[in-house]
């Protein structure tokens, strides 16, 4: 039995008035479970940060409700909410030491000093910054500042931790490390994490569930595998990972491509025969070697472990196949060569536009 940690009920947020009115959040409803790592994923301007700010209490909804557990907290001041935020800019207090930054929330809550000291020490150990307790934030590297921001937000043991693109300022290597670190912290503390990002890879590797957002709405909510393998529409398919999009006409049992080939598709139930649809196939689900489809090798791109092969079908549709690079690094595919290929069974899916 899962329990709700946070819930948005038809949450709407509008900025400005009259002609200039902008709806940043369009009646979003979502239930985030206790102890869950939930990610709001979407391009900039999709409303993910607005939703986070509504939960934090920096903004109040124009309509709808924000609930924490059972309580309606829509109009509660941010300093009364048992919710803490890790800010994109970290927003560490420059005049306070690392330890005093971590101490801040606890002191403001009126926690007894002995308890505060113990908790600060615990947090410093959790993020492995014991040696830096007396430094000022400006004297730390980006990754260390990030960990201070995390420790500061976790110290008061919030019911929900909000993370607003916390890794976007870090370089790739550090980002990968912090992704694992975050996941570890979430598992260890058992606190509900609501994570905002525009990085689909980040979302896939860390989340229990992902909500994909666009234009102030949540398009799809699901686990990483579900989102990746069963995107509900073209936007989600495009946004999460790379994908081949083919167009075709619905027929009995499949979709007929302009080349005349018929592709078997599972999720055809709703589609009416004769209508034009888009098909999505992930590059790693394209198999070169044998199959009913034909394509000319337009280009092969070596990525180290992977090699991408761009195939051009007779109607000029391009299909990218991703395969593991052979130990020699040479796939043996020549540009201009015609090869046979097909899709892994069940891989091709019809997309809503």
């Amino acid at each position: 039995m899962t329990e709700a940690a946070v819930e948005a009920r038809s949450a709407r947020k509008e900025y400005g008035a009259g002609e200039k009115k902008v709806r940043a959040l369009n009646d979003v409803s979502v239930v985030i479970n206790k102890g869950e790592f939930f990610t709001l994923l979407g391009p900039s301007g999709c409303g993910k940060t607005t939703l986070l700010r509504l939960i934090a209490g920096f903004e109040s909804p124009t309509a709808g409700m924000i609930l924490l557990g059972e309580r309606d907290i829509s109009t509660m001041a941010p300093y009364d909410r048992p919710v803490n935020t890790v800010f994109q800019s970290y927003a560490l207090f420059p005049h306070l030491s690392v330890a005093d930054n971590i101490r801040f929330g606890l002191t403001m809550q009126g926690t007894p000093k002995a308890q505060v000291d113990a908790r600060v020490a615990e947090m410093l150990a959790l993020v492995k910054l014991e040696a830096f307790a007396d430094r000022k934030p400006q004297q730390l590297s980006g990754g260390q500042q990030q960990r201070v921001a995390l420790a500061r937000a976790l110290a008061p043991a919030p019911e929900v931790l909000l993370l607003d693109e916390p890794l976007s300022a870090l370089d790739l290597k550090l980002r990968k490390e912090m992704q694992l670190e975050l996941k570890r912290l979430q598992t260890e503390t058992g606190i509900t994490f609501v994570f905002v990002t525009h990085d689909q890879e980040e979302a896939l590797t860390m989340s229990d569930r992902i909500g994909v957002m666009r234009d102030g709405q949540i398009l799809q909510i699901g686990g990483p595998r579900e989102i990746y393998n069963k995107p509900v529409n073209r936007f989600v398919a495009d946004f999460i990972g790379e994908t081949n999009v083919l167009t075709g006409t619905v027929e009995q049992g499949g979709v007929r491509l302009p080349t005349g080939d018929v592709i078997a598709v599972d999720n055809l139930d709703a589609a009416i025969q004769g209508t034009k649809v888009s098909l999505a196939v992930r590059p790693e689900q394209v198999r070169i070697g044998d199959g009913a489809l034909q394509g000319r090798v337009a280009e092969t791109v070596y990525f180290g472990t992977d090699t991408h092969c761009h195939l051009r079908m007779s109607d000029d549709t391009e299909v990218v196949a991703r395969m593991q690079s052979p130990p020699s690094g040479d796939t043996g595919l020549q540009e201009g060569q015609t090869v046979s290929f097909d899709f892994v069974p069940g891989a091709a899916r019809v997309l809503e536009d």
């Binding site: 934090a56 209490g57 920096f58 001041a77 941010p78 300093y79 009364d80 919710v83 803490n84 935020t85 800010f87 800019s89 927003a91 560490l92 207090f93 420059p94 005049h95 306070l96 030491s97 005093d100 801040f104 929330g105 403001m108 809550q109 500061r152 937000a153 008061p156």
Partner: protein, 298 residues
């Protein structure tokens, strides 16, 4: 590499010549003269007699009776110094109380509107201090704007006697030095990262606590600069207390001027001026020490 450093060092030294001349002729020289005068005897009509004595320093603290040479403590001097100190501290506090919200208001306007508000703050500098002070006099005197207004609306029965009181001096100084408080405060608040306010709210700090624990400590350099810029000239103020305080509510500046004028005691004036300088230095050191103390301990 070494040649470049050498060259730029030489150029830097040449560039500093005008500043060195100005400092020598304009500050160090006169200060030296004041120090020397403070240890000489007063001339009969004015000026000094070149005889070394510490009499001026004695006279700063004690009065010598003209007839029987009995010595009494110069409590009038103490009163004047005390009033100056009190009025200057109050002026600084008033300027801060008004200046902080003002600077906050300007710094939180959209960037393209801030120049306009800053421009308004600097307008008083366009007019001579003397004229502005007379204008204040026009407002607060018994038949002035303020009293006429209050009388006409039946708020008071008799005109308030503000002019020629410490209150008048205070109003005048706060008005005159307010921009000196607002500008450094604005510069500090402008640099302030307002996202820290949200971080404070997020970590259970109420509005007052965010102000006290986050905003004020971070804009402290602006507060220190503004306070010094207001306090120091207030302590040595001359024109404002002279006009608005009348003859009886003297501040140190007026008292020193008196020694060089009617008092005909240049050495005493010089000694008083040096004492004032020392008070300012001690006050500044104490202030900087107190305000730069680490928050973690406070």
């Amino acid at each position: 590499m070494a040649g470049t450093t050498h060259g730029s060092g030489r150029t830097g030294w040449i560039l500093s010549i005008p500043a060195l001349i100005l400092l020598t002729v304009g500050a160090a020289g006169p200060l030296l003269i004041v120090v020397v005068y403070a240890f000489l005897e007063p001339g009969e009509y004015s000026g000094v007699v070149w005889d070394f004595t510490t009499e001026a320093w004695f006279r700063v603290f004690f009065e010598r009776d003209i007839f029987d040479d009995t010595v009494t403590f110069a409590d009038a001097h103490l009163t004047i110094f005390w009033r100056s100190l009190k009025l200057s501290v109050l002026t600084t506090l008033i300027a801060f109380a008004i200046g902080f919200p003002t600077a906050w208001f300007i710094a939180t306007r959209p960037p393209n509107k801030r120049a306009f508000w800053l421009f308004l703050i600097t307008i008083p500098f366009w007019t001579n201090l003397l004229i502005r002070t007379f204008a204040i006099m026009e407002v607060i005197r018994n038949q002035g704007l303020l009293n006429t207004f209050l009388l006409n609306f039946g708020i008071i029965d008799a005109p308030l006697q503000i002019l020629y009181t410490d209150t008048a001096v205070l109003i005048g100084m706060a008005y005159v030095y307010l921009p000196l408080m607002v500008l450094p405060l604005y510069a500090a608040i402008d640099r302030f990262d307002f996202r820290l306010v949200e971080a404070g709210y997020d970590l259970y700090a109420s509005r007052m606590k965010v102000l006290r624990r986050v905003i004020l400590p971070i804009v402290r350099p602006g507060i220190v600069a503004g306070s010094i810029l207001v306090f120091v000239p207030s302590l040595g103020a001359y024109v404002t207390p002279r006009i608005l305080g009348g003859g009886k509510n003297m501040m140190v500046g007026n008292f020193i001027e008196l020694q060089f004028g009617q008092g005909r005691n240049w050495p005493l004036g010089a000694a008083l001026a040096l004492l004032l300088l020392m008070i300012v230095l001690v006050a500044l050191l104490a202030y900087v020490r107190v305000t730069s103390r680490d928050d973690a301990n406070g």
